[in-house]
Subunit: 422 residues, 2 copies
């Protein structure tokens, strides 16, 4: 493995991890924009724009784009989160030039009015489809409640109203502002020469407008509260809860990942053994979500409605025990094994490395090899976990519930909510 | 990459592809048994037994098995098909010994009566859950109709009746007969020494009973016909059709894979451009299924009920054109790119290599590296495709439909159905 980085004159960041021992190469553009960078008036525009990128540009029609990706056998896709819009493709090395041209073209779409009108229908259908999934609704409600008044509380898909009212002109303005070269990172992983990466970037990206969009990184002040969405036809109650956890640039983030796995992995964790294994709940998990300047402990519980309050109480007791006593040596070791194994298995494909490579650069301007990650994971001690829990105790501050229940005592802890990032 | 194979005295086959450049290792036991090896009286026993394997043995309880896999961070799972029951785990190299002991233990489960009774409920729930999925029901109905009277027509999960009536004693007998060492292939891929693989196999598998179950490989005689399952509440009609394709040991199988991709891949194929892209159907795909001694072209169509007959007619015209004119150079090239890219991307993880390694050995007693596969794919010509189409034309012999329709003229071609394997 060999790491390289560079920057074009217009500000485009380029990072590459070259590996001559693999048979494929993956390339991705990480655009530093997502729902948190939208105003309420254009809520959903980042995600809508991700779709529009595939509708063609001055060289290629929408049909061309899909046909050519297909012709070269590319595995390609795109995604939009609160903070990053990602476009990527993995391909045999001989087809990287052709694929790269297309992929770079996605960053400068034509944004034609008729494509916009047609795609709007697709987006509205997608919103409807997601709204049918209770866990998705619970996630959106939790984020909106917890991050009330903060940009992270803006939902990714937008609402039928915001997307319905969006104009093509608004999207073009948003694109002009947020897709400048200084706001984009090109990551490449796999079997390719560094000189070829530079050539491709120069050839297809150097005429992009320079400049960078500056995100507001104001720290979130968590809002305590419970939001209930009653759906009488549901069988299970879906509950999501959030509390403050380390932000993406915190040195505590590896400890946070290990703690989440030990306490709330989908198997073999404390929540698993105390809630899922005995049959109290269908799902009981804790995840660590990292954002730019903020972070969240996210609890997800799915169980029969009548058992919800008792289960939330079980979670509370369990979290109290963790906050007071930390983890055991055995739990920490097991979490390390799990996380190490995931790092390795994810990293064995160029597409897996791509997401690590781009994510580390976008959030922290650092390169981390698989060995770096394994070394850091191994180095975490029980006292790091205690330090983490002191700064960011496991709590159930904000609750969103979707299901048959019409009311819920989630026991929202309204004590001090002033955890500060470390 | 370095390939090795060996056989223990009791008949256990061992194959390994060693790769010192990766960070993980995967191991799997491919047991040469599945629903086609069951009698009607024990229908579903292979799949049920796969579940029971995780319930513990003379050394470990069920809790131990899951706990220890978790402790070492193993990614592990099992699956049952018509012909193979597979148990596998991927792990960091340092944990292979511990993981291997557990994995080998799965082959000799205790099959306790109380575990059996409890797990039977889980299996019955799983059957109910799958029956709710129309595409799954269509697949089962198609297999039962097409392979009527042939062992491949026996469904994997069994029926609520057959599983309900199954006794623990019947399962123990089935296990005794089908889990003998000569019926099992151990495949290992990734970062490990060959001597260590042999040591582990000797230590944990050499006391397994010798012998081999001999499968009936009678060739299937396709049954022509249409089966309809009416579900008025459904929105879409789900239709599956089958016709004869090359069996797993045919030299035509690579050509068959390429043809299926060109004609019926989920994007960029003829079916995609003629049915899905213009909005006639939600799904229109052709797959090539290979079995021991038989093979099947499987068509899957999902569309609005009232458009089903017109869409089946479109498929028929399209297949007639392919049968008469074959593929174009451009289509073949594109299919080669797609298949090559899949071979490579799948092969970049030890778990991906494991399935290729074990599958090739179980079906054909041969080792094929990624390069071997790529070379063969590249070598296929348009005249190989024509030869394939002559022996196995694309047809719609047998049809199963699940959805609102109460009747369907699937235009079942009742001409000669005597395609012979080449």
């Amino acid at each position: 493995m060999e790491f390289h980085d560079a920057r074009l004159d217009n500000g485009l960041q380029i990072v590459a991890e070259l590996n001559p021992n693999v048979y494929s190469v993956a390339a991705g553009f990480f655009v530093g924009t997502g729902s948190r960078d939208e105003t309420a008036a254009v809520s959903g525009v980042s995600h809508f724009l991700e779709h529009m990128a595939f509708k063609g540009n001055k060289t290629y029609s929408a049909d061309d784009v899909n046909r050519i990706f297909d012709e070269v056998g590319a595995r390609y896709n795109a995604s939009t989160s609160e903070e990053v819009t990602l476009f990527y493709a993995a391909v045999l090395p001989e087809y990287l030039p052709r694929t790269f041209e297309l992929l770079a073209g996605l960053m400068r779409p034509s944004l034609r009015q008729d494509d916009f009108d047609m795609e709007k229908k697709v987006i509205l259908e997608e919103i409807g489809m997601y709204e049918d999934q209770p866990s998705f609704t619970a996630y959106e409600q939790m984020m909106q409640t917890y991050f009330a008044g903060h940009p992270l509380g803006q939902i990714i898909l937008g609402t039928p109203e915001s997307v319905g009212a969006l104009t093509c002109e608004q999207m073009r303005n948003y694109h002009r502002e947020h897709y400048r070269a200084g706001n984009i990172t090109l990551a490449v992983a796999g079997n390719v020469e560094w000189a070829d990466v530079l050539d491709l970037a120069e050839r297809w990206c150097s005429d992009w407008p320079a400049g960078r969009y500056k995100r507001s990184r104001t720290e979130a002040v968590p809002a305590v509260g419970t939001t209930i969405v009653t759906r009488p036809a549901g069988v299970q109650e879906h509950v999501m809860q959030m509390a403050a956890a380390p932000p993406a640039d915190s040195r505590l983030r590896y400890a946070a990942e290990l703690l989440a796995v030990a306490v709330g992995d989908d198997s073999g964790s404390r929540l698993f053994w105390e809630l899922v294994d005995p049959g109290h709940a269908e799902v009981a998990e804790l995840a660590y979500n990292e954002y730019d300047g903020s972070g969240g402990w996210m609890t997800y519980l799915s169980c029969l409605p009548e058992t919800t309050e008792a289960n939330l109480e079980r979670v509370r007791t369990l979290y109290d025990n963790v906050n007071a006593g930390g983890l055991t040596e055995v739990e920490l070791k097991q979490a390390k094994n799990k996380v190490s194994s995931r790092v390795v298995l994810r990293g064995e494909r160029p597409m897996g490395r791509l997401s690590s490579l781009g994510g580390n650069w976008v959030y922290r301007q650092e390169y981390r090899s698989i060995e770096d990650d394994l070394k850091t994971v191994r180095s975490i001690t029980l006292s790091n976990i205690s330090e983490l829990l002191e700064a960011y105790p496991l709590r159930q501050l904000t609750t969103a519930a979707v299901g048959p229940l019409t009311s819920l005592d989630a026991g929202g802890q309204d004590g001090p909510v002033s955890e500060k990032p470390v």
